[in-house]
């Protein structure tokens, strides 16, 4: 499976490549007053407003401040940008080697000598769009 590997803090997460629209370098988000912490703000992606989501906050693993990269993901017409703490790369996922230990993850894979958790983007998006 081709995937985009997203570094978030010390972890690596994988996103199905077909849901990835583009990777943005130094995304500048406009803050949305009163929005929950998991919303880092709004991005202008080719004339469309796309919310940038704090990937770490969505996975309950912390918080990202001023992310250097974000990957724009689209699932069922909904678009969101997932923040990353280092440059995302594409990679090939082999056989799953275990379950994911975070909610929103669907399985753990080995890529090179690292472990990568494949994310269920739809579940993640549902969490992002839910009322606070």
């Amino acid at each position: 499976v081709r995937a985009l590997i997203l570094p978030v803090g010390d972890e690596l997460y994988a996103l199905p490549i077909e849901s990835v629209r583009q990777v943005i370098e130094r995304p500048t988000a406009t803050r949305l007053p009163t929005a929950p912490a998991r919303m880092l703000g709004l991005l202008n992606v080719q004339g469309q407003l796309v919310p940038m989501l704090d990937t770490a906050a969505l996975l309950d693993t912390g918080a990202i401040v001023a992310p250097p990269y974000a990957a724009v993901i689209e699932v069922r017409g909904a678009r969101g940008a997932l923040a990353a703490t280092a440059m995302p790369m594409t990679g090939e996922l082999g056989e799953p080697i275990g379950q994911a230990d975070v909610s929103g993850g669907v399985g753990t894979y080995a890529v090179g000598d690292r472990l990568v958790v494949l994310l269920d983007v739809e579940a993640l998006f549902a969490k992002a769009g839910a009322a606070t």
């Binding site: 929950p36 919303m39 202008n44 992002a128 009322a131």
Partner: protein, 651 residues
């Protein structure tokens, strides 16, 4: 049927709908003025034309009904018959029957997906909404492209675009294009007049009340999308007026009023808004009853001003009527009226005079897409505030700002207005020291300190996308020509937030789980709302479960009242949906048991039963049910709207 035939039929359906609408209006006119020969002639003509057209396209059932209408109208036209109420009833019935044949769909205002994109009726061309929207989008995009071009001129060529006459000319033309496009989407309010008039007629009959309907300013135009959203709220207000406002004829006479009540819709354009007032000359809203109802929900109204108490009627689940009646209980409640208005950036207010009547005023922006705004800077961020909410701008100095009782106020037109820092209200940082902007709330004004006002112009709003949760104070956002984003604020909500006037949470007495944590839960948190479905038929349980789950509710099921009570004893539900006839413990007994239980007494209950008799309905409501849905009239939307209504969520 060939493609061509199908095309003709669709065209016919479109035309026929207009004729039916006209016939309906004529019939209602005739009801008030039974002998008017012009009205009768016009009616006959419409029926005749419809008959002919129906025969042409092979809609034989429609032809036959129209033919029958002609037969009924003929003697009246020739003066040998009279248009009695019974005759008008039967003719209105025919109109409805033809409409039902035409679409099968319940609402004629919903555009049919395969409707022909354009059609010519007389010298008017009908264009599908889809095409209009595409036109609107394109006009908007060309304006944006034009702005980008201006930026290019400035950065690449070092030319000030406003100095280039071709550029200015293009701007002028594009503005005109956008303006014209927007105007194409405007429709007169009278478009929904017939529907409302019919509702008044039907509802006043059901209630055995005499009610006159009056509409002033029906030619006031609104964006079609706005009007479509307003149809349900208006319908609700009109039904409410008959249900709760207008008294029974005898009571009216006793109170020295004319026997016939009056419901009046008055529309007018005021600046960039259209104000629609729905008023009645009924008994008005009893503030004591509102206070009592508030008390039942543990809202302390002791220190509240009358206008704030009155405002409580717009709260989700708030009703002074004890039950959801058939008449006004269907579809939407006042909380939904308010949330619909807010979703189209409008507002609703109510005024009442005991014994004399009440008036609901809806104010809506004429169009949705473009909003003139003031641009301000606040805590390093640019924000836009719709101009129609800005009452006044006060300079930082030269205005008497007073500090009293730990609050800051400023005098505006002789009235004290509280002052807050916009940044602090939005949680963006600390106080600002620039000018103050006085914004109009739903009932009160509030002044906000900002860093500076940076400009004033039209903002083209865009949605925030599916992944952004609904934020009260944010109306939308716009992408500027330089690619930056400006967030547009919702002034009324901002004022509410600043005044700490959050909708008071409903706390159930003696309910430990509803402590501070539950009370702090924002309204409309349907994600956690749990509905208990009680029915002995597995199919029905599963059907309801799937409908409710798809709508985002958590669902638990029980197969009879006893099982439901046992489950409710361990985990409460936000709402219970129950059948009547069930083994062990039936629905009536379940409701009675719940009402006696301190923790469950306030949980809303809807009965869903195949028993349609008035006696059953009354018994259910007497037992303490909040709603009654008849199974054979059951539809998904009806169920959800009843549930949403009781849980205070916009349908």
């Amino acid at each position: 049927m060939t493609e061509v035939e199908a095309g003709f039929r669709r065209l016919f359906a479109q035309e026929a709908r207009q004729r039916l609408e006209r016939m309906g209006e004529l019939l209602l006119t005739l009801e008030g003025d039974a002998a008017n020969p012009e009205t009768i002639a016009a009616l006959f003509r419409e029926a005749h034309t419809l008959k002919g057209a129906a025969a042409m396209v092979g809609e034989l059932k429609v032809r036959d009904i129209a033919h029958g209408m002609e037969d009924v109208l003929q003697p009246i036209r020739s003066g040998t018959g009279t248009a009695t109420p019974a005759v008008i009833d039967s003719l209105l019935g025919d109109v409805d029957a033809i409409r039902a044949l035409l679409d099968g769909a319940p609402s004629p205002s919903v555009p049919v997906a395969d409707a022909p994109p354009t059609a010519v009726v007389g010298d008017v061309v009908q264009v599908s909404l889809e095409r209009l929207d595409a036109l609107m989008r394109t006009a908007g995009e060309s304006a944006a492209a034009h702005l980008r071009l201006g930026r290019l001129l400035a950065t690449r060529l070092g030319t000030d675009p406003s100095e280039v006459s071709e550029f200015r000319e293009l701007q002028l033309v594009l503005n005109q294009l956008q303006d014209l496009t927007m105007r194409v989407r405007m429709v007169p309010l009278a478009t929904v007049g017939y529907m409302l008039h019919r509702a008044v007629r039907e509802a006043s009959r059901t209630e055995s009340k005499a009610v006159r309907w009056e509409m002033v300013g029906g030619d006031t135009e609104l964006d079609r999308a706005v009007l479509e959203r307003l149809a349900d709220p208006l319908l609700h207000l009109v039904r409410n007026a008959i249900d709760h406002g207008i008294e029974a004829p005898a009571d009216r006479v006793a109170a020295g009023k004319p026997e016939e009540g009056l419901i009046r819709l008055h529309a007018m354009q005021v600046g960039s808004e259209v104000v629609i007032a729905v008023s009645d000359d009924g008994r008005g809203i009893d503030l004591q009853q509102v206070r009592k109802a508030a008390g039942r929900r543990s809202i302390d109204t002791a220190g509240m001003r009358d206008e704030d108490v009155l405002d409580l009627i717009f709260q989700p689940g708030f009703s002074t009527a004890k039950q959801v009646t058939d008449l006004s209980g269907r579809g939407v409640g006042l909380d939904v009226v308010r949330s619909v208005l807010e979703s189209i950036r409008g507002r609703v207010e109510v005024r009442t005079e005991p014994g004399k009547g009440c008036e609901f005023r809806l104010a809506v922006p004429i169009t949705l897409a473009v909003i003139p705004c003031m641009l301000v800077s606040c805590a390093g961020q640019r924000l836009a505030i719709p101009i129609h909410s800005v009452v006044k701008v006060l300079q930082a100095s030269g205005n008497a700002v007073k500090h009293a009782d730990r609050r800051t106020i400023v005098m505006v037109d002789g009235q004290p207005v509280p002052v807050s820092s916009l940044a602090a209200t939005l949680g963006l940082g600390d106080s600002s020291s620039g000018p103050m902007m006085v914004l109009a709330g739903l009932s009160r004004s509030h002044a906000f300190r900002i860093d500076a006002i940076t400009g004033q112009r039209d903002i083209v709003m865009k949605g925030l996308g599916d992944l952004t949760p609904r934020l009260d104070v944010v109306a939308g956002a716009s992408i500027e020509p330089d690619g930056s984003i400006i967030v547009v604020l919702e002034a009324a909500r901002l004022v509410e937030r600043a005044q700490g006037h959050r909708r008071p949470a409903i706390v159930e007495p003696g309910f430990p789980a509803a402590g501070p944590a539950a009370a702090a839960r924002p309204p409309g948190d349907e994600a956690r709302a749990c509905v208990m479905v009680v029915d002995d038929a597995l199919t029905i349980r599963e059907l309801q479960k799937s409908i409710l789950e798809r709508a985002g509710y958590r669902v638990r099921t029980a197969s009879n009242g006893a099982e439901a009570m046992a489950m409710l004893a361990t985990e409460d539900a936000t709402l219970v949906l129950t059948d009547i006839e069930m083994p062990q413990m039936d629905g009536f007994a379940l409701i009675e048991a719940m009402r006696k239980h301190p923790r469950l007494a306030h949980v809303p209950v809807i009965i869903l039963s195949s028993r349609a008799s008035e006696a059953d309905r009354r018994r259910g409501l007497e037992a303490g049910a909040d709603g009654y849905i008849v199974k054979n009239a059951f539809d998904q939307a009806g169920l959800l709207s009843a549930v949403n209504r009781l849980l205070g969520k916009a349908a």
